[in-house]
């Protein structure tokens, strides 16, 4: 009897591999096909062409968008790394006070839809916002001090959007760092500053670079800020170009596809670099001592400056946007913050949100799609990740398939999935199903990372012992692997659930009036000028998501997995 054929893992690998191919390959194929073909009015391919790419090259706008994308991504990466990184170091490696505020920012940000944050910032920094208002009152001018619909505004807002995630990811790097390395420098006579400059920073540099590239990739694919902040100011980046050519009538899908292919190639190249950088980052991790309790730097009197910075971060990144939303939600119409405004405070918006059936349905829709997608992903990746983590049959291929969608910026994946399901004669387009499918494709890599590193932490002998005790592969999987992987499964599920409810880019092209999700609804309402109700609804939603984010955070901290499943 052939042993390989008898191995149930081969069957699992083939089935899971089949599912992954069916999910991951068609969108990529469809983008490539659309970018090099012409189609008739029914979407049937009529011929091969390079005209879409040709148009990209000759149109000056494409180049402008590319440059804008790069500037935007680079600027926001630097800003978020500076703010989030400094905060992470202060919180994890020093005795600065009020650390809990930094975590509060991170947790609540984890639950807030990006689009809601962006809207708050738009108001804060906008024409009638308190910043420009104050400036006008002080100087007597009539214009604005700061035009938020500018590249500077985009970078500022996107940078603040990413800084909590940078804080969490770098925080775990600093926490895992061997404190002996820094103490050895101090014992050698180095001051805190010398130690930071000569030891801490160089040691963290590989992780920092890898994280910088990660944020850069995400910012290149970022959609919320370019759409809400950039487009009104006529500043286009690649993602908003794709969006525009899809939503104009008639849609220029070839153009969108060509743009998307360009972005996918850029992201793929960056991802290859990222893979190399992350490996580099692990090189320093291999030399560590035993697990010690963290021993923070004593900042002496600098403690209070550090505390002030933590408070500043709390106020700027969390408190101001939330207060702004609260202000917006309590007014019948959008107006600047003033004493007079307080007279017209009303709970009308909240009443509308809580009584109108539309909002409840919207919330239920969002929860169902996110939960369904998270469940499907964890089911697939728990098998794929286990085979990959144990170098089982086809493990490498499964891993690459499951993480293939990393090359798609959200908006491009939206275009691709839309194209795929427009051509499949199943009634999926225009329903919640298509959003769910897009989520599954998009967030599969996250599930894979959680399971994969969870499997690596399980000692192989635990499974071998079950085998020697007489258990078959399936029994071992059910009775030993699955229970031990539960922390990774739960953490991954919660993470996907949270991020799916946060991001706008994928769903924005797939949602229809009959199948709305939160982020898209907020986006539409803002565009339609219904600021009050959206703020009220957004705040209620944020409270709900913050509860889930808190569960996620406490759970991952206790289980020893960090926010990214490491």
């Amino acid at each position: 009897m052939n042993i390989a054929a008898a191995d149930p893992r081969v069957i699992i690998a083939v089935v899971v591999g089949g599912v992954l191919v069916a999910l991951m390959v068609p969108p990529l194929w469809m983008l490539l096909q659309d970018s090099v073909t012409t189609t008739d009015a029914f979407g049937d391919v009529t011929g091969l062409t390079l005209q879409h790419f040709h148009k990209l090259v000759i149109e000056k706008r494409a180049l402008t968008s590319l440059v804008n994308s790069l500037v935007f991504a680079a600027g926001s990466t630097v800003l978020s790394l500076l703010t989030g990184g400094a905060l992470a170091w202060l919180v994890e490696r020093t005795n600065a006070p009020l650390k809990v505020l930094a975590y509060l920012v991170a947790i609540i940000s984890m639950g807030t839809p990006y689009v809601l944050h962006v809207i708050a910032w738009l108001f804060l920094l906008g024409k009638i916002g308190p910043l420009n208002d104050l400036w006008r009152q002080v100087t007597g001018e009539t214009g604005v001090l700061f035009n938020v619909n500018s590249m500077a505004g985009m970078i500022l807002i996107e940078g603040f959007l990413w800084s909590p995630l940078v804080f969490l990811l770098l925080g775990s790097t600093f926490r895992a760092a061997n404190a002996d390395m820094e103490e050895a420098a101090r014992m050698s006579g180095a001051s805190v500053f010398d130690t930071l400059r000569r030891i801490s920073l160089p040691l963290a540099m590989p992780s920092l670079l890898a994280l910088a590239l990660f944020v850069f990739i995400r910012a290149i694919g970022g959609f919320e800020v370019p759409a809400l902040v950039g487009m009104p100011g006529r500043i286009y980046v690649l993602t908003t170009d794709v969006y525009e050519s899809t939503v104009t009538v008639p849609p220029d899908l070839g153009h969108a596809a060509a743009f998307s292919v360009v972005m996918v190639v850029i992201v793929a190249v960056l991802l290859a670099f990222y893979g190399r950088l992350s490996k580099n980052a692990e090189r320093y991790h291999s030399i560590t001592g035993k697990g010690y309790r963290p021993r923070p730097f004593d900042l002496g009197r600098g403690r209070w400056i550090a505390g002030a910075l933590i408070v500043l971060n709390f106020v700027v990144v969390l408190l101001l946007p939330l207060l702004t939303l609260a202000w917006m939600s309590l007014l019948p119409f959008l107006r600047s913050i003033s004493i007079a405004g307080f007279a017209s405070l009303t709970l009308k918006n909240y009443r509308a949100v809580l009584t109108a059936p539309g909002y409840i349905g919207l919330a239920v829709n969002s929860l169902i799609v996110a939960a369904g997608a998270a469940t499907a992903i964890m089911a697939i990746t728990s098998l794929a990740g286990w085979i990959a983590g144990r170098n089982g049959p086809g493990g490498r291929i499964l891993d690459q398939l499951a993480t293939l969608s990393l090359v798609f910026p959200g908006i491009c994946l939206g275009v691709a999935v839309m194209e795929v399901w427009l051509r499949i004669p199943l009634p999926v387009y225009g329903t919640l199903w298509i959003i769910g499918i897009a989520y599954v494709i998009r967030y599969m890599p996250f599930g894979m990372r959680y399971i994969y590193s969870g499997v690596l932490q399980l000692h192989r002998e635990l499974e071998e012992a079950a085998g020697v005790a007489g258990a078959g592969t399936m029994t071992t999987l059910r009775r030993v692997v699955a229970p031990l992987l539960t922390p990774a499964l739960v953490a991954g599920w919660l993470f996907i659930f949270l991020i799916a409810n946060k991001e706008l880019a994928i769903a924005v092209l797939l949602a229809s009036p009959r199948s709305q999700v939160i982020a898209v609804a907020i986006f539409d309402q803002w565009v339609n000028g219904q600021g009050g109700e959206l703020a009220a609804f957004g705040l209620i939603w944020t409270v709900l998501m913050t509860i889930i984010a808190t569960v996620f955070f406490v759970f991952t901290r206790r289980g020893g997995v960090d926010v990214h499943g490491n």
């Binding site: 103490e183 014992m187 006579g189 180095a190 010398d194 160089p202 040691l203 001592g289």
Partner: protein, 369 residues
């Protein structure tokens, strides 16, 4: 000369660890002393070391090197750790992976605040330091390409390159494999004597402590159980804890027969009726309850019909367990109700059930409390 007085540092009860730390610890080390803090994990030895280093701030006490006060809780002096002029080797070595061996060792010279070293001085001092630890020619090597033993030597070279007043070693051998550990034990001691540097060494390994130290403090739950030279710790344990911790001692309970002066031989009636004579290091009153420590290797095992004499103690028993360990054999011998552990030469064997006599010199039995 290192002087520590009344050092106290107590950790509160955390959910996962019980209260630890060190309480009211005082000692003085003459220059060049190799001093070992020995004890089980959580006994306060590492806390003591870290307080001297300046990595922890003591709750109370005084730490001085010569006439320089490093810490004094009464007047609020606390010299920052980077101004203490102390060399330290960490348990994990803490070799910086982003630097070469040379740069690792040169680091203390490069960041020195009290004086600037020029390029030639740095080269000379680093080379000298590398030579001392037997790694000449390794300077250009990346720190990531070193074996465990080499990392250990680099860590030591780094700790001594700026000619510190004091050297602190935190379980430096615990990450090495057994063979290398014994070699490094001898090497470390030789180096320390060659440089003549006052050294505080932390370990939980009693063999290491006995082999290397001039002075040992055995610690238990934050307090010093006994502080003495290695031979005294071994042969005259001051209490039951030390007797147990330094080698597996047999502990016998009994009652002193008559008043005995400090250091004299006295007679003890054991709980099961046997009478032995043993040393009372601290003296003892008549009828006082005592515990006697008896080392497995001081007991001589002989056939049940052998001669006994008054110059040594003799107990009769039966072999109930025997394991051959190569050079020695370990016996479990039942004497009345209790099992005594005996280490004997392995050339003669006594199978299970053999009646035997255990004889031991009068001064090898020590009252420990």
């Amino acid at each position: 000369m290192l002087i520590v007085r009344g050092l106290t540092k107590i950790y509160g009860d955390h959910a996962d660890t019980r209260a630890g730390g060190v309480r009211d610890f005082s000692f003085e080390l003459p220059p060049g002393t190799f001093f070992t803090l020995l004890g089980p994990s959580g006994c306060g030895k590492t806390t003591t070391l870290r307080c001297i280093a300046g990595l922890e701030r003591p709750d109370a006490g005084q730490i001085r090197i010569g006439d320089a006060t490093l810490y004094d809780s009464t007047v609020g002096t606390a010299v920052p750790l980077n101004r203490r002029g102390i060399g330290m080797v960490f348990q994990s070595y803490a070799i910086w992976p982003h630097m070469t061996v040379f740069e690792n060792i040169a680091f203390p010279l490069r960041v020195a605040k009290d004086r600037r070293y020029n390029r030639e001085e740095i080269c000379a001092l680093v080379d000298q330091s590398l030579g001392t630890v037997g790694l000449s020619g390794f300077g250009d090597r990346p720190a990531t390409r070193l074996s465990g033993g080499q990392q250990q030597r680099v860590a030591l070279a780094r700790a001594i390159v700026h000619k510190p007043r004091l050297l602190l070693l935190d379980e430096p051998l615990s990450n090495l494999d057994a063979a290398l550990r014994e070699e490094m034990r001898i090497e470390l001691r030789r180096l320390q004597q060659q440089i003549g540097l006052t050294t505080v060494y932390v370990t939980h390994d009693q063999a290491e402590a006995l082999a290397m130290s001039d002075l040992i403090a055995v610690m238990d739950h934050g307090r010093v159980a006994q502080m003495d030279e290695p031979r005294a710790i071994y042969f005259r344990p001051a209490n039951e804890f030390v007797a147990r911790f330094i080698g597996a001692a047999n502990l016998l309970h009994g009652t002193a027969d008559a008043p005995t002066g400090p250091g004299d031989l006295g007679s003890v009636v054991l709980d099961d009726g046997d009478r032995i004579r043993c040393v009372f290091p601290a003296g003892g009153a008549a009828r006082s309850a005592v515990t006697v420590s008896l080392r497995p290797e001081s007991l001589v095992i002989g056939p049940g019909d052998c001669q006994t004499d008054a110059a040594s103690n003799t107990l009769a028993g039966i072999v109930v367990g025997c394991s051959f360990l190569g050079g020695t054999a370990r016996y479990d011998v039942r004497v009345k109700q209790r099992i005594l552990r005996v280490t004997a030469p392995s050339d003669v064997t006594f199978p299970d059930g053999t009646p035997v006599h255990l004889t031991f010199a009068l001064d090898s039995a020590v009252v420990v409390g």
